[in-house]
Amino acid sequence: MAAITLTDIVKRYPDGFLAVKGVSLDIADGEFVILVGPSGCGKSTLLRMIVGLEDITEGELQIAGKRVNERAPRDRKLAMVFQNYALYPHLTVFENIAFPLRLQKGRFTEQQIQDKVNFAAQTLELQDHLQRKPANLSGGQRQRVAMGRAIVREADAFLFDEPLSNLDAKLRGQMRTEISRMQRRLGTTTVYVTHDQTEAMTLGDRVAVLRKGDLQQVASPRALYEHPVNLFVAGFIGSPPMNFVPGEVSGDVMKLPFAEVPLTDDLRRRLGDRTLVIVGIRPEHFEDHAVIQQQGRTGGVPFKAQVDVTEWLGSDLYAYVPFETRPEVAGKLEELDRDLDGEGLRTQLVVALASDSRVRDGDDAPLWFDPARMLVFDPESGDNLTYDADKARAIDEQNEKDRKASIERAKAREAATSRA
């Protein structure tokens, strides 16, 4: 158990490339922190610096309050799960899990090793496979063996490097909950690298979003989702992604490509003298106007739009609405799309409607959206003009309380089951 503190960590490769540009991050004891970002954002490099497989160019790394910059990986007492699991192919599952124990010669008796491996195998339901070789295991089983190796190490922290990216979708969901359960149960500090925003949102107590080696925002998943600091975080978090449209301020209203929104005093103050901004609206903040009327809800902005394609998913109905963007913001949005590993195909709105909506492709559909949930970004810097630091902090504090309570509950459960 240990806290990990990163202070102004910089990674510069010999060829001069700056992979990590001064990242500072406090990871509390027992916390589950996600490093997330599109490919090439420096998240894996950062993780490898924490574990000691990459040298730290500048800055300081502390584990449990001690500077470890110069320590070899084996002296940092960390356990890591690699993307392709890095199982030893010549050893059985048992020996793979026992490997870290056998390295510490004389510290454990054969009986202790047996007990520890069996405990880990039980936790991960690997008892039946202990005598098999990794080559004969399925992807999910290999993944669990790699986790078993991390458990027996009794490390100060677990590090995961995209551990689920080689699994198919169904297994990924199962393993995700498995990792979450294990982390809560053991209460071990965990740093988890992924490019998948779903994993980031579901697993993390806090999520650190990286872009080109710069830390963008560190916050609870909910604070990230509702209060992103800038265009990049807003676009990265959420699936389907947030819609970005140009917004032109004219008099008392903001003109969007499909509707006009009345300006509130607060919004007018935040806009300053800007006349053109980027407006972000999440797909689920749109709705079928007919559904809204049925529910008897008032307020919001109704509008008509030509629906291009619809996708019915059972729980939702996604409708795609093409729109013309403005050349002034097109460049910025294309750049954002590139940063997010997008293809930059066409400008379209994605709206998530109730699954019983009657909207079909080709319709000139009556839609509706909630302007109170709308985010406004500066077209030059990409900063979120509607960012509310106090609200974001309040969400984070609540999240921290929830986390501690959850660990307490897990401990109580553990104690109850071990007594029984």
Binding site: V51, G52, L53, A72, P73, R74, L78, A79, M80, F82, Q83, N84, Y85, A86, L87, Y88, P89, H90, F99, P100, L103, Q104, K133, P134, A135, G139, R142, R149, R153, N166
Partner: protein, 282 residues
């Protein structure tokens, strides 16, 4: 062979028979000849009319006429080939490790030089070597053969090992380090077991190259001090000047083939077991 049509199956069987006959007939012929009486060599039969151990006693027996020629040369061949193989494998392992793992200037140069050395015709350097070796006292010594053998075995060993090492998942080494291993432990416990099959294969190839050499063996030796078997065979004589030493040569050929066959069988187990373990890919 499942899923193949009958015609395809028959075709394969025919091809296999042809290939086996082509490759194994000379071996069988030598084997048969080695049991023939000297006087019956030219009868034209494939199998000996009278089976005899005469040829073997001639080269191995206490009173054998070719014993003093053959036994020391067998010792020389085994000793020189083993030493040359051991040195080549150790050096090539280190070199290939560096080539596969590190990025350094002149890496391509080393590989191309190694390739250049290995395609250089042996016969063109043997004369200068002969003169040089006589001057510095390496002529007709074990070391005098081991050094040129290294020039044959090292390049091929470096190439095969470098290719093999490139396929090893080096992440395992890092995983072992995180698991608490020192750099040396990580290498020994995670990498060596995976690299071993490749090293065995390379050792096998290097040994055969040294074992089969004739040009260096005959040019750089003059007595049984260092003369290897392939060279010694050329010095066999018949019981009289009217007799061909074919029987004795065949017997010697069978004897020198035995270690090769044993080695192949022995190492192949290692290689196959190593390959079937296979690296775990995600």
């Amino acid at each position: 062979m499942r899923g193949m049509s009958t015609r395809l199956k028959i075709g394969w069987v025919v091809i296999v028979i042809v290939v086996f006959t082509y490759t194994l007939f000379p071996v069988a012929s030598i084997f048969a000849t080695s049991f023939k009486l000297p006087g019956e060599l030219n009868l034209g039969t494939f199998l000996p009319v009278h089976w005899t151990w005469d040829n073997y006693t001639q080269i191995l027996g206490p009173d054998g006429s070719a014993r003093d020629l053959f036994v020391p040369s067998l010792r020389n061949s085994i000793g020189i080939s083993l030493i040359a193989t051991a040195i080549a494998v150790v050096l090539a392992t280190l070199a290939a490790y560096a080539i596969a793992r590190l990025d350094f200037r002149g890496k391509r140069l080393i590989l191309t030089t190694a390739l250049g050395v290995s395609i250089f015709p042996v016969i063109s350097i043997v004369t200068p070597l002969f003169n040089l070796w006589r001057q510095i006292g390496l002529y007709d010594t074990w070391l005098g053969l081991i050094i040129p053998y290294l020039s044959l075995t090292l390049p091929i060993s470096i190439w095969t090992l470098a290719a093999f090492f490139r396929q090893i998942p080096w992440e395992l080494e890092q995983a072992a380090q995180v698991d608490g291993a020192t750099t040396w432990q990580a290498f020994r416990k995670a990498i060596v077991p995976l690299a071993a099959p490749g090293v065995f294969t390379t050792a096998l190839i290097a040994f055969f190259i040294a074992w089969n050499d004739f040009v260096y063996g005959i040019s750089l030796t003059s007595t049984s001090r260092a003369r290897p078997v392939p060279a010694a065979l050329a010095f066999f004589t018949g019981a009289s000047q009217f007799e061909e030493p074919t029987g004795a040569i065949s017997a010697a050929a069978v004897i020198v083939t035995i270690p090769v066959v044993i080695l192949v069988l022995l190492f192949q187990r290692q290689i196959v077991s190593g390959l079937t373990q296979g690296a775990v890919k995600g």
